[in-house]
């Protein structure tokens, strides 16, 4: 994977927005959240931001997930890979509360849930993107991104209609933050277009922007590069990394394309038929015989079209 194509300009943005770092990240990470975290050192240091314990899920007798444990540390980019139907998306849906697992818990920031309350997800500092585009087609790109801040809105509809109270300030604030994110992800040129009219790759990026605008502590990306060309993929990988570096966001990422994931993530969990068959650093996963059998063997002749 040609990592050289990362937009290097994005990486220097880490001095931006000091308040990002004042949001109660584990103190051990405050210093190391900027830049690429050395994976070995945090693995045994910090309390995980997210951990799954014994997650099981089935649909009408078909087992989608069986006894999955997973821990995600603050500041890392954590990939979940696996062949089609391995249960990757189901796992993201469990973490974001869209599915209620049949067994097990999701522990977020020290609090344990049997089903994560979807409607409070944003308040918990969790944002996600979707495998199939889930933009609001009838809204402009700017409004799509600004909608990522809708959970914070306190003004009511009457105030908004009459333009009184805090509604004006809120609107100004969310627009300026949306604009910053658009600039960060190089989307300013399409700011006022209706989201539904953009090409596929850009829509994926707008979804990332909508998730990022709330500066979440945990960002769940469900196949952010599915259906992209190789150069779009590496561009997207660059954005994901830059987003982590700039906002100190922890990233959980599902991807089909092993090459992209190897270069991007700190640790990788591999799913196959709903079970976790490996969970280690990219190098270790690369050499794991079970992973090679289950997955990598097929990836070589599926490099570009994977995951469509």
């Amino acid at each position: 994977m040609p990592l050289a194509s990362y937009a290097l300009g994005m990486m220097e943005a880490s001095v931006y927005a000091p308040e990002v770092f004042a949001r109660g990240l584990p103190s051990t990470l405050q210093s190391s959240a900027v830049g690429i975290v050395p994976t070995g050192s945090i693995a045994d240091a910090a309390v995980p931001l997210l951990s799954l314990q014994g997650i099981g899920l089935s649909f009408g007798g078909v087992v989608a997930l069986a006894d999955i444990d997973l821990s995600v540390l603050s500041g890392e980019i954590r990939a979940i890979i696996g062949p089609n139907g391995a249960g990757k998306s189901s796992l993201i849906n469990v973490i974001s509360g869209v599915y209620r697992p049949g067994r097990g818990h999701v522990q977020l920031d020290g609090i344990s849930y049997t089903q994560v309350p979807t409607q409070r997800l944003a308040h918990l500092g969790v944002a996600r993107t979707f495998q199939n585009l889930a933009l609001f087609k009838g809204l402009s790109v700017l409004d799509n991104v600004a909608s990522g801040l809708a959970y914070k809105v306190r003004s009511n509809f009457a105030g908004q209609v009459l333009g009184i109270g805090r509604s004006r300030g809120e609107r100004r604030d969310s627009l300026s933050r949306a604009d910053q994110i658009l600039e960060f992800l190089d989307l300013t040129a399409v700011r006022d277009r209706l989201a539904g009219t953009l090409p596929y790759g850009l829509q994926k990026r707008v979804e990332l922007a909508r998730a990022l605008v709330a500066e979440p502590r945990l960002l769940l990306l469900d196949e952010p590069m599915a259906g992209m060309t190789a150069s779009e993929k590496s561009e997207m990988a660059g954005f994901v990394r830059a987003a982590r570096d700039r906002f100190a966001t922890t990233v959980v990422l599902i991807e089909h394309d092993v090459g992209v994931v190897m270069g991007l993530s700190d640790r990788i969990a591999v799913l196959d038929y709903g079970r976790k068959i490996a969970d280690a650093t990219p190098d270790e996963v690369r050499n794991d015989q079970r992973v090679i059998d289950a997955y990598l063997g097929v990836a070589s002749d599926n490099e570009d079209g994977a995951g469509i």
């Binding site: 933009l135 409004d143 909608s147 914070k152």
Partner: protein, 346 residues
């Protein structure tokens, strides 16, 4: 059915408030002087009432994506509530009765909107029929609502606002125009506010909306409440300013469909669209009747007219859905752009 959010986006060179202001100036300053009583009674008054109902339904269906087949019920609720408030509450001014009537309609809207919290699509559309049948039944069954008049007919009170009587066709026109203008302006502000964008978000992708933290349940009920409020006030205009005498049967399922057709033909998720659609719905039967009488003479009796109206209306709906899903508004904008372009290039 993609929504256009930048409402009132006029010609690129003009500020967007110019067109509505000019239109209002014309409607207030010129129309009352030149209009015939036929124009007011047969065209403008029903047009204004139905436009407002269309604006209300568009908020719910066009923006928030919740299909309702019970609009006429909320019109009826508004009309009968205003009548009773005005009749039974001593000293309550007309405006007060109208606002309270809107609130009653909104409350009924919330009750019948509750199923939307669990139901989607067709299931919800069918359940809004419950509102249609229940309200119509209640108004017919309990004569208290119509002050014990025969067959539930109510007569509108005089339109008095702080001592000024809106008499005659022109007076009632000005009254309706004022109410419709104010509510339309507020509706326009609403759909371009955060709440309006939340409506669209829920319509376009409910799961994503929930996950980014939009309060989906609250927002849906709010859409039902606001929409029903506006439709309820439209019912008051229909009863008090247009017909002056109404009965529950005038607010039947066909009326609900008529309002749905208005927003489909005019353009879903467009405030202007409701006015375009209402204009077409009001004018086309009159035009059809003239045309039919002219072409076919005596064969074109009222029965034939009624049937051919249904056929043409049905065909219009299908044609718009297939050829111009964004409605007359999109058609108008395109024509205007062409004209502007042609004008600029000469």
């Amino acid at each position: 059915m993609t929504a256009i959010t930048d409402e009132f986006s006029s010609a690129p060179v003009l500020p967007k408030w110019i067109a509505p202001v000019l239109l209002l100036a014309f409607a207030y300053g010129v129309v009352p002087l030149i209009g015939s009583s036929y124009l007011f009674e047969a065209i403008l008054l029903p047009f204004l009432a139905l436009s407002l109902a269309g604006v209300g339904l568009n908020i719910l269906t066009g923006y928030a994506g919740q299909v309702s087949l019970g609009s006429a019920a909320f019109m009826a609720a508004g009309a009968f509530a205003a009548y009773n408030f005005y009749l039974r509450v001593e000293g309550l001014p007309l405006i007060g009765s109208i606002v309270l009537a809107g609130i009653v309609a909104a409350a009924i809207g919330i009750v019948f909107g509750l199923p939307s919290l669990r139901l989607k699509g067709f299931y919800l559309a069918v359940s809004t029929l419950a509102a249609q049948f229940f309200v119509q039944w209640a108004l017919t069954k309990f004569s208290w609502f119509s002050n014990d008049s025969a067959s539930g007919v109510i007569d509108a009170p005089k339109l008095l606002i702080s001592g000024f009587a809106f008499d005659g066709a022109v007076g009632r026109y000005l009254f309706a125009l004022t109410v419709v203008s104010i509510l339309t302006f507020l509706a326009y502000r609403l759909v371009s506010s955060q709440t309006g964008r939340n409506f669209i978000a829920i319509r376009d992708n409910e799961t994503a909306a929930r996950i980014i933290g939009i309060p989906v349940l609250k927002t849906k009920l709010l859409a039902f409440a606001i929409s029903s409020f506006i439709i309820g006030v439209a019912g008051v205009i229909w009863a008090f300013a247009y017909l002056r005498t109404v009965e529950p049967d005038g607010f039947d399922l066909d009326r609900s469909f008529q309002i749905l057709f208005i927003i489909i033909i005019g353009g879903l998720a467009s405030i202007r669209g409701a006015f375009f659609g209402a204009a077409l719905i009001v004018v086309f039967p009159l035009a059809l009747s003239r045309l039919g009488g002219f072409l076919l003479g005596d064969v074109f009796d009222s029965g034939v007219l009624d049937m051919s109206q249904r056929i043409v209306l049905g065909a219009l709906i299908i044609l718009f859905l297939i050829l111009e899903p964004d409605g007359l508004v999109a058609l108008w904008d395109r024509v205007r752009r062409r004209l502007l372009f042609a004008w600029q290039s000469t």
